[in-house]
Symmetry: C2
Subunit: 347 residues, 2 copies
């Protein structure tokens, strides 16, 4: 039986739409990821795969998909990395991104997961879903490794030219995500700056500092932190403008390949060095993996009136399964209600 091209949302079950065409290995990894997520949870929720029906069905056939709560909504075109984010929404209304996000807008699904063009997913979410009342700008929160686990960086690239109160809101949203999804108790929120003193920084950051102090009940604000404090795990939530966050994120992601080249040059010096490096291959891989944010199951776009999880184009089926499970958790734990209530109380 062919799955219907409409989504039945009459039940109480959570429904997650997955952009089946977004990633570099679409739809194979998306379909496998969806299958894995449902198998791991015994079909605890429904997945709606959005994209080219024929291609998706072909992948489903190669999967042992019988009994999985998967349906398909057909969307014939794809937004690529080369599309201009906002223009793509108009030019490709029948893309998996726009069709999937529209399902979410119409509340036919509870969340949307995509490994497509980050800018386009952010634009589609903001324009179609709108913002949670009280939120000035949605923020991308990305996980960085640290000595004590992980730190959430907000904003990691959704917003440049932030106003000071955007930074304050990033702190509030990041704190809620950190508490409810990452399980941190009373998350420590640090403002990324060039020094610890209140007087340090650019105008934006100095003003944001004042807002955090004035509204001390909003989050557990630990003050300014410096670039060296991120990996040390000094804060659970690191607040900054998205320009800085994006540069930092991409810099961090490039550290492993820089080090790998160094280790390779060392191995090339001789047979002894080569042997030593061969013995180290596995521990090094594990250590470097910490810098790769796709391992954490995608990043949330916090502040939109819905649940959007964005992943790397090269996401593995495992990473996509993690993204889907995270989306489910965000729906279940009503993250947006917490954000709305917290920001309302502060007004």
């Amino acid at each position: 039986m062919q799955p219907p091209n409409v989504v039945d949302h009459s039940s109480d079950r959570i429904r997650i739409a997955v952009d089946a065409m977004g990633g570099d290995f679409a739809p194979a990894n998306e379909v496998q990821g969806a299958g894995n997520a449902l198998k791991r949870t015994n079909n605890r929720f429904d997945v709606v795969l959005v994209g080219d029906r024929t291609a998706i069905e072909k992948e489903l056939a190669s999967l042992d998909a019988a009994g999985l709560s998967i349906s398909i909504v057909h969307a014939p075109t794809v937004v690529t990395m080369h599309d201009s984010p906002v223009a793509a929404l108009k030019q490709k209304p029948d893309s998996s991104l726009v069709v999937g996000m529209t399902l979410h807008k119409e509340r036919k699904v509870d969340a949307f997961v995509s490994t497509s063009n980050t800018g386009a997913v952010t634009a589609a979410s903001t324009l179609l879903l709108g913002r949670i009342p009280g939120v000035s700008r949605p923020t991308i929160g990305t996980l960085f490794p640290s000595d004590t686990g992980y730190a959430l960086i907000a904003d990691a690239g959704a917003v440049t030219d932030s106003k000071p109160h955007f930074l304050f809101e990033f702190g509030v949203m990041g704190s809620i995500f950190s508490e409810y999804i990452l399980g941190k108790k009373n998350p420590r929120v640090g403002l990324l700056n060039v020094g610890e003193e209140e007087s340090k920084g650019d105008e934006r950051t100095k003003e944001a500092y004042k807002l955090f102090i004035q509204r001390a009940d909003a989050v557990n604000f630990i003050g300014n932190i410096e670039g060296r404090d991120i990996l040390k795990g000094k804060a659970d939530v690191v607040v900054c403008d998205g320009f800085l966050g994006n540069v930092l994120l991409k810099f961090g992601e490039s550290v492993p390949s820089f080090l790998k080249a160094k280790f390779k040059a060392y191995a090339d010096r001789g047979i002894y060095q080569k042997l030593l490096m061969a013995l180290l291959r596995n521990p090094l891989r594990k250590i470097f993996k910490d810098f790769d944010y796709q391992e954490y199951g995608g990043v949330p776009l916090l502040g939109v009136n819905g649940v959007t999880i964005i992943g790397h184009g090269r996401s593995t089926p495992k990473a996509i399964a993690n993204m889907i499970l995270r989306a489910e958790e965000m729906v279940q734990k009503k993250i947006n209600t917490h954000i709305e209530n917290t920001l309302r109380e502060l007004q």
Copy 2:
């Protein structure tokens, strides 16, 4: 014979003043560094040690300093890391920093080298020496390791809230330093941004991009680069606002200790792992050293009407010797004349 407390600058020899009291191990490391620099160059230039005469003489006595072209100028107080940069200049006019910088202002010395409070050295340089004509803000240029050698980041923390034309000037100054001091031919100047396209970035960076394009003869502008391109060595000079540069610099410096902790945790897993890590100690140390900017002999403050080299408080004698030699090179190669001429031609 006690060295005189005045500086004789009647000869053509280059004279470098060294803040002998600035670092964490002052004056020991400063005095040893000065001695090393002069021994390595057969007294090619003169060093003036500025600071507590008794303490400096004690260190000189423990050094084989006979025949070295070192003189002392007494300064009884010290600017510390806890002093507010600008206030310190007024409150401590007899500090090694202010006395030494004043010698430079009066052209009794040709350069000043300090491992004191970076903010205070920057403030003293800017206020006492003034700026090169055409320079809006002096910039700290710091070296980052890369796959192809080193990249100079400007600005690394001297200027926040940069105007777009500051960024353009950072590019010009960085390019000249990269060419004359670091020996790069036609240095590639990249503008640090969140994407490669011209339309990307915050307002400041988009405007700066236009300036680089409009004045295409000024530097070899290769366009926008991203955070991941720095370690890849895509640019010889990476231009950004000092807020971003400072956070990035401190983040980069923290990478080795983060990785060391990971390697240590691995070693603690058993005797085999401990042995493997012991064998790796030296290569790891060498690889991590690349992230430590003091190894490069301090950082220049480009754009002041003089030559200022700033080093880490914990600089070793070797690092201080390198700073002194770099200062000599900057004087000899007339870096400031090149900056002034280039910026004049652009007006």
